[in-house]
Subunit: 360 residues, 4 copies
């Protein structure tokens, strides 16, 4: 198990700590022949980067990616795509007081216990900074999917208990990007922004959920047993920092209904067999059925709060942890491109696997 790799055919591997020299990674198995627009990758990184609005952390990481290999004259060559993002705006001094202290609901204690050593600066490897690498790889996965007519999107559909009404199953980038909070329902977006701002003022944090969708799906992605498409998507999403729950299609709400209410009947429409409803979230028996993939990813509130908390240090001594540093009161707006990336990476991986389904 290479803990820092995801996928089996379209494989992303990442390395790097929050306050080390650089974070980076590589994609292995990316097919040759994909035109890559560097500004598209950078645009996605910019959606994830800190400091993009008053709602997010004031850390200001430019997050400029340098592609080192695998793309020649703007086109993927089939060789692995290596890339790095230098760490620039580290204030490691912000973290000196954390060297021996275990922050509540952070990875400090488990990492220290597991490895006997850790780079404590900014959370080290456990920092969500690592997800910038996923966004780089996700951008390339999106370009690959686009060649097959598959589009991926995500938006914030809930912050704490402020939830947008069930509406369309697809929103344009313009609709999503029109609010700082990346919720395509303007009234809900405003309420979310207000909640985040007031929570930030109190030094506290909030969670919520992100809805992710893929449309233009082909039938047949996913493996029947242990690599069901939704199992792989769940694995992808649960690997994102702070995610506590995952559901797809009608999700948990659907488990409160009867089979007769929940089943998706088939019909032939325009010469194509399709489901009349999409409670299955585009996946039946672990395999995509051509309908949009729909899933919801739930994030806990950020563990770093600007309030004092009681905890212990390495020696088990009680420590009063004073909240300081530059942190998000709500990660969801910045997590949108990460969720999209993980969905795109999973689909790209299964799209390649699918090529082996049948004799040609």
């Amino acid at each position: 198990m290479a803990g820092n790799s995801f996928g089996n055919h379209f494989v992303i591997s990442t390395f790097g700590e929050s306050h080390g020299a650089a974070i980076g990674g590589m994609i292995d198995g990316c097919p040759a022949g994909i035109s890559i627009n560097m500004s598209d990758i950078q645009a996605e990184l910019d959606r994830r980067r800190p400091g993009q609005s008053h709602l997010t952390t004031s850390r200001n990481e430019a997050d400029t990616v340098e592609i080192l290999s695998g793309i020649f004259e703007g086109v993927t060559t089939g060789a692995p795509i290596g890339f790095i993002i230098r760490n620039n705006d580290q204030k490691s001094s912000d973290y000196g007081h954390l060297k021996d202290t275990f922050r509540p609901s952070h990875a400090d204690f488990t990492w220290e216990s597991k490895y006997g050593i850790r780079d404590y600066r900014g959370g080290g490897r456990s920092s969500a900074r690592e997800t910038a690498c996923r966004v780089v790889a996700g951008s390339i996965a999106k370009a690959f999917l686009a060649m097959h007519g598959i589009e991926v999107s995500a938006w914030v559909n809930r912050v704490q208990s402020i939830e947008m009404p069930e509406g369309k199953d697809w929103y344009s980038s313009t609709e999503i990007e029109s609010s700082l909070v990346r919720c395509p329902h303007p009234d809900t977006a405003t309420a979310m922004e207000n909640l985040i701002a007031s929570t930030k003022e109190k030094g506290d944090t909030v969670g919520g959920s992100i809805r992710a969708v893929a449309r233009g799906m082909k039938v047949g992605l996913g493996q029947p047993v242990f690599h069901k498409l939704h199992a792989d998507i769940a694995s992808a999403m649960m690997s994102i920092n702070a995610v506590k729950g995952f559901e797809y299609g009608s999700g948990i709400a659907g488990t409160y209904r009867n089979g007769s209410e929940e089943n998706d009947g088939f019909a032939e429409i325009d010469g194509k067999i399709t489901t009349l409803t999409n409670r299955s979230g585009g996946i039946q028996g672990g395999i995509s059925n051509g309908a949009p993939i729909v899933c919801t990813v739930h994030f806990k509130p950020v563990a770093t709060i600007m309030k004092d908390q009681q905890t212990v240090n390495k020696d088990g001594e009680t420590v009063n942890l004073v909240g300081k540093g530059r942190h998000d009161a709500c990660v969801l707006p910045r997590a949108v491109p990460i969720v999209e990336s993980m969905l795109a990476l999973t689909l790209a991986d299964q799209l390649l696997k699918m090529r082996s389904d049948k004799v040609l």
Copy 2:
């Protein structure tokens, strides 16, 4: 991606169709030196087998496992453990009418589209019959975990909207097995049983959720980034037939709270650093912290109902699907050992991986 394998160190692979000659599988990577009690394995299989009560399908599969290798004089040898379970009580004639018909919310359509061929009898490979193999492997994983003081348990905590009150974080086997529905809260169990019975009478089906717990945990299981312990558990659980949602620790409910309410503070108790609460469900930064692992797995209602449904056949012609055959109105009671098995398999896999964390 070997779609029919799970795990990287303690690896379970399965094969077999519902109405083929046999289902079976193998465990690769099981350490040498585990004493295996064959009657323990059979007892677990009996908890999963159909026909065990009036609440479940009347299909009566004895599900007798034959271990073919890897165990010598009652002890694992380090060689792969191969096993088969013969299919005996198949009534393939029950399924002839399904040869060309796509049942709603089943894998018929996706499988046919993906592979161009399928063993339609009893759902073939997409049948939940496959999970009997997971229970065999899970029993062996449990024996391995037990040698490290880790115990796994699960119970039905909700059927449709009948949910047991939040109570203890561990129930004994006796408490769980005291009701047919495997809910350790007697009043709730009775209500669940009544609901399942009345639903069955109507030819309909219900879903619900199973809570799974591991106690006696060590600190340090899980990988930091893509193989976070909860990501692997999610992948394991979502691969079980009919699962639509997964959450761990305080789960989705916790995402409605503030960081200051949700964080688990540390304290030293009896010379051991521990969390005062367990909203993290025993996992922080993807790595176990020694507290019990707690997760909840949500199952949709069974797709096979005894009511007529409209659907299409291969040619896209509308077909009236008449409900018949022998099926469960609620799979949750029988799914309990499957959920336990997937948790045990994931923990066994990560327990072995953990041996590589540090230089010795």
Copy 3:
């Protein structure tokens, strides 16, 4: 690392000990739509089975394979293909004296040390009996390759120092099967048979080499760096019991020549770019170039001899090991289908991987 699996796309996994209930395995990733002729599989098994001639061991294992899944109405379905071969003619009593004794150049000592327990009967898991499973899987891989015009063949080209003259780069099955020793050069075959017979009489054993060839190759199989086609073939061949060396193309002999003598120049012939010579053995930069794949696999003499040998038991006490039992004086004739199978499995695996090379 699942030690008992080979391949990443077309994956063979095996289990079983020489004297357990059965050996068996599964193929995961076999594409749907391959017509399988059961008698073809059995015919290959018969080429490997003991007791087929006076030259081989007198053990008489019928080696009847039972396919348990993954093939429906004679065609592969994309589901994993599980199979078993029951062990029938075990004379475990032949092995009782080996329980505590480490046979020279066998796996007894290393296995005992590694696992602390072993099934000593007939070598247990370390027995070459396991290779029967590879032949089953190899037969299916051959059927898949045949649909792409690729054929695999192998023959004995050397027994000890009796080597057939360099001749054709392909021999028909008829030519190869015309001698008991599976050498297509009749005079050499006779000499080999005489050597084996006389060696057997002396209670000794001989090794030699097998040449394997694949023709009808496509350009493009193989990965550039760590999974070069010849690296995967080497891994496959070296995993066969008793193999001590591997070379491909002009092999080691070619390393005695100058670059100017060894290079394969290109030319266009009949509108197709091709090499004028094939010192590269059909592989350049780790990727097939369309010319026949040619490799040579070297087997040491069988370790079990009918002569007395001095060794030690578990307690380190000197033991006189008396040669007895039923063993081959030379495994090469029976190893031919095993070598073919490993080549076929490697090519099937890379043929599937190759489908991901480019965007379509």
Copy 4:
């Protein structure tokens, strides 16, 4: 199959083209707690780098590695170790004439056919420049092995037909490094150097073989069936550019002997069970027996020669390829650290896997 990764527990992945911005890679699964001396890594890179003597290419790549992650205050943390080596002394203009031409016995034709695109400059990804990354990772693997008492060494034992006499099974770094050609037998070294120099003058190239040894071995590394220790080593070695053959222990020579001559008898010496001879090369049944691992790796002559050769271009037109550029007449001296690295990486991988053999 991640074609650019090697290993399953101690996993090295590499990226980068000869004339791109940088080459690099990452190690995933390196245990925490290894002290890393940066100058040791650099020293190994210097043994591989071009321009180190008049015998090698005059290209002068400083090959300075920058470690980006996974090492904190000089010690591995368990996090992935990312690193890059910038490409500095590229003269891409040297390669413009190769854009459309397929060099004999190079990867140009196969790569072009496979991917439809290639970075032709300096061989791109197929260049042996990639192996610098293996040397970085190999240095870290060596540091890990050293903590377990395992040492790895290699030397040139044959250039074309000039072979050093069979002698010791271990040579010190001083003995090996005392000649430019890295052959520890001074007379042979001189003859080799003369042959390389004279061959270079003629614009031709030579191959030969490298012997690699690991001592201080533990018993028990290796998996019984498909991941036999020597199968993994073979896979590792055959993945090095220009390698055509592999053998271990007594190797191919041993296949000319009888079983009675070839078997390694056991004896107890100083309370330790050990073999009296080491024809098995330290591996029995695929598992290390504690004796030194010994293997021999055969390299073909470099394909790039300074002589004119006839070949074709993309359009199949005959082209006269004029030899030019800066190339080695013999890669063996520079390949020594690469061979050592691949052996070290394989052993590190299996040493970690071995921790899962038994219940503790």
